[in-house]
Symmetry: C2
DNA sequence: CCAATTCGTAAGCCATCACTAACGGTTAGT
DNA sequence: ACTAACCGTTAGTGATGGCTTACGAATTGG
């Protein structure tokens, strides 16, 4: 039901870069921005989108705010993709049965 | 390596509608357009994008041109998503071992 | 209490993209 | 050969969205 948000969120290259940067572990906004060719506020905006899509979670840590990947947010998208394989298999099966 | 194209292609709602319309089976452009709130050329443009992303294949059939889903085009995207689960599991494992 | 650090937000600019309308090409049938 | 059906492409327009700069909020440490 929420795979649309995950798709639109991950469609942007910079946002994917932010997301993949978190693969190395949780970190703050400034640390994410360093190493990316965009400003810190831009990263903050991207994180907001990723958070609304359920792909990241944040936690206050002093003055900083630590972000980390929330892989569960990808579940709906994954299920949606899998349904196409099921359809493809069913269609292939029907096609095979039609030849008998 | 081509999951970026699949993501950007499926990020558009209308394009997703076109893609899901083909779930019911192969059909022509006019048939896809009927039932969608956009014009036929718009559908044609979306199909071009989906084709470049390897998500659909087309085949001439008289004056018509039949499109159908090419599920294999989703494989790279699927693999990419799965890699995040692997990372999540590894991270969880490391976290558990740290507590021992 | 004051200064420094870290971050989110608002405003504005610019590029990208989806959409329509009009045209041209190709095939099937008479 | 002519007509009809089906489709792809182009040009132009309007809207969406990402980026930067500037500002304000919250917390830590001296």
């Amino acid at each position: 039901m929420a795979y649309e948000l995950a798709l639109s969120s991950l469609s942007d290259p910079t946002r994917r870069a932010v997301f993949e940067r978190l693969r190395t572990g949780p970190m703050g906004v400034a640390e994410i921005a360093s190493g990316l060719p965009v400003s810190r506020p831009a990263v903050s905006q991207h994180l907001k989108v990723l958070k609304e899509a359920g792909l990241v979670v944040d936690e206050p840590r002093g003055t900083a705010r630590i972000y980390r990947i929330h892989a569960e947010g990808l579940r709906d998208l994954r299920d949606w993709l899998d349904s196409f394989w099921d359809d493809a298999l069913t269609r292939f099966k029907d096609h095979a049965e039609r030849d008998t």
